[in-house]
Amino acid sequence: MIHEEIILVAEHLQQRISPITYELISFADEIKRFRPGIIITIVIIGKGFREIAGEIIQKSGINVICIECENLHLYNAEAYILILKEFISEKKVKYICIPHTSTGLDYAPGLAVKLHASCITGIEKCHYREENIIFTRSILNGKIQMEATPTTEVSVLTILPGSFKAPGFTKSFPYSPKIVNTAVSPCKTKTIKILNSNEDDPSISEADIIVSAGRGIGREENLNIIYNLAKIFPRSAIGGSRTICDIGWLGYKHQIGITGKSVAPKLYIACGISGAIQHVSSIKGANIILAINTDPQAAIFNYSDYCVVEDLTTFIPILIDAFKKKEKPHTFSI
């Protein structure tokens, strides 16, 4: 009897396995709760991963298959789709799980087309109801969530980073990875190389407190308010949403989100940030989140420890004034 399988496609960049790959394991474990017989398999496409595959098996006990392809040195959507299609053709695959990242999203929908599969992206939760596994994802800037369930035999799923916590591994398993050799030649696309684009600034990753600006700041001049707020905190840094960086008000080194940086400061102050899922998934490591926003329905408030419904352009100056009065009480008595 052929068992149903979940395939987890590992993501790697510059020969390192991305942490989201481990989060896929937790997601698959959730599915397994609803479908106990299902087999989990991790697939790593690329060369030079045998050792790391061995480590993943040792830690997780999950079967890892390295698919090595002679002429594939870099990620290529066309090749990934051909390889995965061939790999699963003999199997009874139910779910193919892919990270919800720039690379994952590059090939997931195309793979679904070729497999006549459904494609559900940005999955944050799953649950079981009336014999269906139902997936939850955010829409409308995180103000609403939708639930969907596949109506096809096979489904391609992309899993939102930060939604399923990577498992803590305790046991040790003595298996070794399986190596599969394949030869595909993409004919319509050629990946050339990886380029470094952004100037890096470690100050955001190292800061205790991040004051972050979103579209709600309204005008570029209002960035001064954000800078002034950051000044009252020691070890602070300035962050921004993608929109602010796209307009050019802040450099991309300040961008926080799926396509920017993930941060885990002691305090994250979200100023005029709506709370789109691409941003929020990258600040979940923050100890305390404080949000200032005029829109009481803004999704950011669902993730915040402290919520202030105010216009930041008037409220933050009041906050800074109040702080300065407290800081130097004696200057008034002299």
Binding site: L105, I139, E147, P150, K193, I194, N302, Y306
Partner: protein
């Protein structure tokens, strides 16, 4: 060269959304302001820049949706696109990416487009799928999150840099015809010009009834929508702005953050 730009009209994200009675979509009431998906503005701008650089470029914009989407198609014409195509849907309800992608793909398949652009995602349903699905259905190569493209006259390929994680880019060549999903920040989208807006006002759109096109049936089923559960049960600080500031400083002080 023929370019097709796929655009979407979305409700403004500042809207206070309410769920409809059958909990299968949001209430479409008069409070909702519709506008062009911001990511699609970057896609249109990128196509206009190719038109300015290369000879004989024709830009079609296409949008699938109910009658209201024609205003967004006209905005695209106002920015400088040549023709507007409206694939008319009757209902305001949720439409899956497969449904939308297959309608566009079946419309486009015999029109000989050299390039198809979409925004990297739609702001409303945030699927990031339609572009890549169209490419899959038409069996043409695609690149997502395009942050730079370069094409020369008479080239049969396009050079693309796409954004990947950690501030890195990946460069690739794609044979034409190809589909690119355009990342925000690739350019600064222009505003509609007066002369184009005047031209667009009277220009006839090509309207195609969605029922006249083949489409791929939905492969997933929407089982409901709801308001998100709070991940954290945050404290809403109340009072006048001054009182809120005082309370906040006290909290930050107690946590040794200030």
């Amino acid at each position: 060269m023929k370019i097709l730009v796929c655009i979407k009209q979305v409700p403004d994200s500042e809207t206070a959304f309410k769920i409809n009675d059958t909990t299968n979509w949001i209430q479409m009431n008069n409070d909702i302001v519709f506008r062009m998906n911001r990511f699609d503005e970057f896609a249109i701008e990128e196509s206009l820049r190719i038109k300015e650089k290369l000879p004989d470029v024709n830009i079609d914009v296409i949008s699938v949706g109910p009658p209201r989407v024609t205003s967004t198609i006209r905005k695209a014409l106002g920015m400088g696109a040549d023709n507007g195509i409206h694939i008319l849907l009757e209902k305001e309800l949720y439409h899956s990416p497969y449904e939308i992608a297959s309608l566009i793909a079946f419309y486009a398949r015999d029109k000989n487009y050299d390039l198809i652009f979409t925004g990297v995602m739609a702001e409303d349903d945030m699927q990031c799928q339609v572009g890549q699905l169209i490419a899959g259905i038409l069996n043409i190569p695609s690149a997502s999150s395009t942050i730079l493209e370069r094409i020369n006259p008479d080239d049969n390929a396009i050079y693309v840099e796409r954004e990947i994680d950690n501030g890195l880019r990946e460069s690739l060549d794609l044979l034409l015809p190809a589909l690119l999903t355009i990342q925000s920040g690739i350019n600064h989208p222009r505003y509609p010009s007066l002369s184009n807006v005047l031209r667009a006002k009277d220009q006839e759109l090509i309207t195609v009834d969605s029922k006249s096109l083949p489409k791929i049936e939905n492969r997933d089923r929407l089982t409901g929508i709801y308001y998100p559960q709070k991940i954290k049960n945050g404290l809403f600080i109340d009072g006048s702005p001054e009182e809120k500031a005082e309370k906040l400083l006290e909290i930050l002080h107690d946590k040794s953050l200030i």
